[in-house]
Amino acid sequence: MISSRINFRLLLHLTTFLVMLYVLYLIFLSVPTDKNLGISQRIFYFHVPLAWSGFLCFFIVLIGSIGYLWKKSLICDRLAHASSEIGVLFITLMLMSGVLWAKPVWGVWWTWDPRLTTSLILWLIYVAYLMLRAYSSNRQQGAKYAALLGIAGFIDVPIVYLSIYWWRTVHPQPLVGPATSGGGLDPSMQTALMISTLAFTLVLISLLVERMSLFRDQYALETHVASIKS
């Protein structure tokens, strides 16, 4: 039983690794360089998949939070907790890559663009989520409060996006928006983007599986220690 589980994980990590290698080949050796944006356009293949898997993480947090509050399922709590950590990691990397992309393309490190700003708010909410767990007086309380915030945060994010979008139209900034993302992509670029997204989703799953099993061991140990003490 245990060995088959490890085999499954090993297979998962190996697949992730191979797909990622292929993506790196695509990004750096196969895909043509963008005519307008130059070589820095290749950041795109990291930036967008990071954003996608980051947002996916917070969707998983929502699912885990609902599952925990509704069914009191400890697996759901582990899922939400692990996913929130990975989501914060991915969104941090996404924001950093966004900053590093904005500089060569738009000439500034940061613009209060709706997507960027919403990501920042999202990031803040889920940093608060992790803090809430860290500062709670016990694990159950932290799990419950974090679950409540996981749901509230998820409801809030679309409203945040809408308000920032409207706000941007009131306060137009003298900068051009992202010029060539989306539409005018070379087919090979689109393929590379899709496979890269898949690769980062696999990274997410790999990390998630490991983190969850780590949480399980951690809790089991804590319970054991508590039962010895009493």
Binding site: I6, R9, L10, H13, F17, L24, F28, L29, T33, G38, I39, S40, R42, I43, F46, H47, L50, E85, I86, L89, T92, L93, M96, S97, L100, W101, K103, P104, V203, L207, E210, R211, S213, L214, D217, Q218, L221, H224, V225, I228
Partner: protein, 82 residues
């Protein structure tokens, strides 16, 4: 599992260095073909790449540390029980 994580951490580190080298090579060739695109942009790509992998590698390292702590505590518990 610990073993696997060690391997993962190390391969990631090696991968980062390796691909940075590839990238340097790549930058030289692409710089020639695209006269209009200055090479100035390259460090940004570098930075993003390094950051992303460093971030994920650090997280894996953090997990392996946690794992080690758990194992150490488990061992000490076992010793106490004997």
């Amino acid at each position: 599992m610990n073993y696997l994580k060690k391997i993962l951490t190390k391969t990631t580190a090696i991968l980062v260095v390796y691909l940075m080298l590839i990238n340097t090579a790549l930058a030289k060739t692409s710089g020639d073909s695209h006269a209009s695109t200055p090479e100035d942009n390259l460090p940004y790509l570098f930075a993003v790449f390094a950051l992303t992998w460093a971030g994920i590698a650090l997280y894996i390292y953090y997990m392996s540390q946690k794992q080690r702590e758990i194992k150490a505590e488990l061992d000490s518990l076992k010793r106490n029980q004997e």
